[in-house]
Amino acid sequence: MTDSKKITSIIKEIGNVIQKEKDFLTELDSFIGDADHGINMARGFKEVEKKLPGLEDKDVGTILKTVGMTLVSTVGGASGPLYGTAFMKAGMAIGAKNDIDGDDFITALNAAVEGIKMRGKSHEGEKTMLDALIPALNTIKNVYEENKDFKAALEQGVKAAEEGVEYTKTIIATKGQAILVKEALDIKIPVRHLHI
């Protein structure tokens, strides 16, 4: 079981990684985007961090919804509504619980992925974050259902997400600014994986 305090510390750690990798995220976005992804995400998570101490005693649904709303209000680019919707939908799916287990996490991740699909009017195979998230979700679900080992499920999920990232290098973008660069496939983007 994971309680509210632990959830806020995990979100803080996500923010730390984003701050640390801010320049790298912006660099990725400079190949075929408008070179502001790292700056935008770092701004959003800095505001999230300010709110976390006041959220430690709130239920998990409220924490996730507040994080989502803060990202929507402060990120400014397309990642704001996308990540914001993901966190808000995850929060709504979990509701007023103070502890969550593996099944709750899967329910929340599923709601987050559905939220991103809805907000971005997108689906798998369009060279978006969904190509990492959907395989991760499916793997976590399958592994956890099989043996109820959540740590193993997460590890396998991360691996599936990484494979998803590799897969995006082989397909052509049909969503977002990347579609403006038809030859995007030939641009050698140095993707590496951020581990939380």
Partner: protein, 126 residues
């Protein structure tokens, strides 16, 4: 009169489109929601929220936006105002804003304002 909200990544662009629309139809309730609070590029949930409130009446509000996050952020603001009469219009920002402002100031209905703005996409310039 139907309220008109201009959403853009750029504060100057949103302000400029609003000024142009107001020049053509001074009475039309038009509000701009451009850029982020600190003046940088992006779309702000709060700015869109405030702009809608500033021009809202029972006649409704239409939103015209540039692209990407402007569309998604406007969508989220509307979802959080379920009881209000608000609609986004898929049209060219400048031309759409001008014809929407003229239609609104002539007391046309929300449906008529939307049609006028959508038709602006079909006008050929050359």
């Amino acid at each position: 009169m139907v309220g008109i909200v201009i959403v853009s990544h750029s504060n100057k662009l949103a302000q400029g489109v609003m000024e142009l629309a107001k020049m053509m139809a001074a009475d039309a309730p038009v509000a701009a929601a451009g850029g982020l609070e600190d003046g940088s590029f992006g779309t702000s949930y709060e700015k869109i929220d405030t702009a809608i409130d500033s021009v809202y009446s029972d006649d409704g509000v239409v939103i015209l936006m540039d692209m990407g996050s402007a569309v998604m952020t406007a969508e989220m603001v509307i979802e959080n105002m379920p009881n209000k009469k608000i609609q986004m219009i898929d049209c060219p920002l400048v031309e759409g804003a001008v014809v929407a402002a003229i239609a609104s100031s002539s007391n046309q209905s929300m449906g008529e304002v939307i049609n006028e703005a959508k038709n602006a996409a079909k006008e050929s310039k050359l």
